[in-house]
């Protein structure tokens, strides 16, 4: 592989790594927001 190709691979790996981490945070946040909404709804239903 050429030097340029290796360089592209390295920079792509960094971008993908950071992107995957951000995606994992986003997924976890979505999951928690759903659970928060469900827990909140049950709490309101229970208090009636």
């Amino acid at each position: 592989m050429s030097e340029t190709a290796w360089t592209v691979v390295a920079f792509t790996a960094v971008a993908v790594g950071i992107g995957l981490y951000l995606a994992s945070i986003s997924l976890r946040r979505r999951n928690l927001s759903k659970r928060l909404a469900q827990a909140g709804a049950r709490r309101r239903a229970g208090s009636r």
């Binding site: 030097e3 290796w6 360089t7 390295a10 790996a13 981490y21 945070i25």
Partner: protein, 242 residues
């Protein structure tokens, strides 16, 4: 509804993204190609490899300080910060361990050598992966947090070992430049130093943003857990109660 914190976080994210764009522009369009001994075009990997290592050091320093604070005060905010920083540190140490061999393969002819710098960096990565496993597997979050804090304090010993390994032992790994002495053994001129410092600043801003985002996620997790525990206390038979 957007809060002032959401707005600040957005601006910080935009600043980090902008700084990264400027840094990459300098790396690819301003910094000159290095000599063949330093890997020629491949040497540009240095502009993400060294800032990734800097972020790893910074992250684990935050874990160290916050772990001590948590052990002393038992205040949840320190535990949240330490956990967030450890996660980010593992991500960036992983990037160091990925970009390093990508550079090494064409330059050294091998992906890996068991020299002091590479081995101590691998130990660092394993230590903090262990930290994250400890937290995820602990059945008692308080106890898990305290055990992880101890590991966070002890594990930090490896950071100076990683940093000074190229001075203390004979290693294949290039010994310079470093953040403290960016011109050492490097042949870096003005444009290259500008690209290097721009990368460091950009990555530092990225760290600040990632830390804030991750801490916010941790607080959301605490809120959800508190609500679910409250619900379980009121109705242990309810479906979905933890």
């Amino acid at each position: 509804m957007r809060t002032p914190t959401d707005t600040k976080l957005t601006y910080l994210g935009i600043a980090a993204g902008g700084a990264l764009a400027v840094a990459m522009g300098l790396v690819f369009f301003v910094a000159r190609e290095a000599t063949s001994a330093m890997g020629g075009h491949l040497q540009r990997i240095f502009y993400v490899h060294v800032p990734s290592a800097w972020l790893a050091y910074l992250s684990f320093a935050v874990v160290f300080v916050c772990s001590i604070a948590y052990l002393r005060t038992n205040a949840r905010r320190w535990d949240l910060l330490a956990h967030a920083a450890a996660e980010i540190g593992v991500v960036f140490t992983s990037l160091v361990l990925i970009t390093g061999p990508i550079w090494a393969r064409p330059v050294w002819g091998t992906w890996w050598e068991w020299d002091a710098r590479l081995t101590s960096t691998l130990v660092l990565w394993l230590t903090y992966v262990g930290y994250l496993f400890l937290r995820s597997l602990a059945t008692d979050p308080g106890r898990g947090g305290r055990l992880a804090a101890v590991l966070g304090v002890v594990g930090f010993i490896d950071v100076p070992i990683v940093h000074y390994s190229v001075k203390w032992w004979r290693t294949l790994h290039p010994s310079g430049p470093t953040i403290a002495d960016p011109t050492a053994s490097s042949g870096l001129g003005g444009p290259e130093l500008a690209a290097f410092f721009a990368s460091l600043v950009a990555f530092t801003l990225l760290f600040a943003w990632l830390l804030a985002v991750r801490v916010r996620l941790g607080r959301l997790g605490d809120e959800v857990e508190a609500l679910e525990i409250e619900r379980h206390d009121h109705d242990p038979t309810a479906v979905g109660a933890t």
